[in-house]
């Protein structure tokens, strides 16, 4: 049950463009996450796959069959909504059975499927309750059970965890992941939460500004982001983006900020003017006297196993650094900030350029 998107476009009217040139291949049994900030069109894309929203241009294929004109029920998929779309007047059992009854399956078939699905999500004891008598996580599981019971191979989920608290979200993340693996579902999962994307996805599609920014595995996305947006979207605290330029004297020498740091590369710096990306845990910080220092500490946040240091470079750029363990700094204490071996290069349009590999950096 593969899904393929080819140059999909969505306009609401002549002026309002929602999505443009969206192409992707989703393999059978894959956990595919569509991620992006709110308003990027990710839910719209999911609804177009489901058939709830018409497609302006391009093709959606399921198993190599163009389904643009097919009604939702003919696409043989299920969908889990953000608000779960449970029927408040039906019991848990009847909620799960709703679609099966609508499709006029035999009574025994309905019985079996519903009972199995409820068992799978551990809701058998709650089958006679009404949705309002359930907690948020239980309601979420009813929605999952509905998807399970339907027996479709493709499952679409639209921000299914966003109404849950943080603890529950982590648990449900695992349950969904296990369920997907167990049933071999082809799952397309929409979220605005980069952690969900990173933890569950086989492949991630990053959407922003009506366009696909990048498609790749979590590791590829994190390590080789296609642009500044992707780099900034993943990872907490956010990646540091700093202006840099090629040294006039030495084309292998990179000057960061206004001469705050200098990094020697193995090869030529790819552009005169550029921006570098450094993950906060790639920055090293050492105490220094005011002569040696290139920054001052603004603030620190102690998280138990690590400390986040917020500092301002002499150039005025702010940086975030993650240091292991507990580190104490006074306010406005002068420090020396140094970049590590992992550097990303972006041109002034935010596109990644040149090498990103650690080999580029002189040790």
């Amino acid at each position: 049950m593969s899904i393929s998107l080819r140059n999909v476009r969505k306009d609401y009217d002549q002026q309002t463009k929602v999505l443009e040139k969206v192409s992707a291949e989703v393999q059978t049994g894959e956990f595919f996450v569509i991620v992006g900030p709110s308003g990027c069109g990710k839910s719209t894309l999911l609804r177009m796959i489901a058939g709830l929203t018409p497609i302006t241009d391009g093709e959606v294929r399921i198993n190599d069959r163009v389904v643009n004109e097919l009604p939702p029920k003919a696409r043989k998929l299920t969908m889990v909504f953000q608000n779960y779309a449970l029927y408040p007047f039906l019991s848990v059992w009847d909620n799960v059975a709703f679609g099966l009854k609508a499709r006029k399956l035999s009574q025994s078939d309905v019985q079996n499927r519903v009972n199995n699905a409820l068992k799978m999500v551990n809701l058998t004891d709650f089958k006679n309750r009404k949705p309002r008598e359930l907690s948020g996580g239980q309601r979420q599981r009813v929605a999952l059970a509905r998807a399970v019971a339907s027996d479709a191979d493709i499952c679409l989920m639209d921000e299914p965890l966003s109404n849950l608290d943080a603890q529950l979200r982590i648990r449900m993340r695992q349950e969904i992941y296990n369920l997907q693996r167990k049933l071999g579902l082809t799952l397309i999962y929409v979220t605005h939460d980069q952690v969900e994307a990173m933890t569950m996805a086989d492949h991630i599609m990053v959407l922003n500004d009506q366009h696909v920014q990048q498609i790749g595995t979590p590791a590829e996305i994190y390590q080789h982001p296609a642009n500044e947006f992707v780099a900034q979207f993943f990872g907490t605290p956010q990646i540091n983006i700093l202006p840099a330029k090629r040294s006039a004297e030495n084309s292998h020498l990179l000057t960061v900020g206004s001469n705050d740091m200098q990094v020697a590369l193995n090869e030529e710096v790819p552009a005169d003017q550029l921006r570098i990306g450094v993950r906060p845990d790639e920055l090293t910080i050492s105490r220094a006297d005011s002569v040696d220092s290139n920054a001052v500490v603004k603030n620190t946040e102690f998280l138990g196993n690590e400390t986040i240091v917020y500092a301002t470079l002499n150039s005025g750029d702010n940086v975030r650094a993650v240091l292991p363990g507990q580190v104490n700094f006074r306010g406005y204490e002068p420090i020396k900030v140094q970049v590590g071996s992992h550097l990303l290069f972006f041109n002034n349009d935010g596109e990644r350029i040149g090498l990103t590999k650690e080999e580029a950096v002189h040790a």
Partner: protein, 320 residues
Amino acid sequence: MLKSPATHSSTAPVTSDKAKSKAERSESGFWLNAKDKYYAWIFLGPSLLILGVFIFYPMFRTLYLSLFLTNTVGKPTVFVGLSNYINLLTSADYLSSLGVTMVYVLAVTVITIALGLILANYASKQLAGIGIFRTLFSATMGVSVSVAAIFWLFIFNPSTGFLALVSNWLHLPQINWLTDPGWAMLAVIITTVWMNLGFTFLILLGAMQSVPTTLYEAASIEGATPRYQLFHITIPMISPTLFFVSIITLIEGFKSFGLIDLMTKGGPTNATNMLVYRIYKDAFYSGNYAQASAESLILTVIIAIFTLIQFKVLEKRVNY
């Protein structure tokens, strides 16, 4: 009345609040101190006075009158106990009025709600120009009883009315809508339904539009046809509103007066002589206040019973 299901489903912890407020109440208790009592009477006074003068006194007066015979000038003279009631309930004439009223009320309620539901279901679809239809369907809400009666009297007119013209044109036998005992009831029902429809439609439309669209989307993905969705999503979801509308329509039906007075005056041959119209005629035509009082109380009891039945039967299906 138009509570969205969202608010319904989010009221889980209510029970504890209730228990708490109950406890508070019993603490302060029934035994107020003198000063509190003084304030209580001051605050309750105006509304008790208004209720007493305009509700309680007339009610007890009606009960009192119904146990007497009233003379020429409407004064109670002979105490007869329940015999006014017994006479009524054993009179074929009154029982036929009762039957006629039941037929009318049930027909009006069922047809109004069925039509309202159908129209609202169409109007709740997002289609081009649907606003025009919504306005049209709800237009009768602004029509007064007298305007509706005159409008339909023109339509039913046996010689120049629209229906007469149509049946003439189609070479169908002419129907004496308002003078034939068999048809008059139908004519009155049609007019009432027409008049009620705007309000019912608007209320049901409002309820339908507050149903979350994801319910329908989920159902359509799961393979439910629009018809299946109407009966298994829309109707259960708007059942509190349906319940409200059906009670209102039913009670309004029992109270129908203006239309009857303007269109048929209870005729022909008592075919549309509803209970309320009968009360009016007995009291204000014949001056038989005792009997009219007894009829009023019987009608009150009937409406109460119907409302109670509706509550009992429907609350099971409604409450989710």
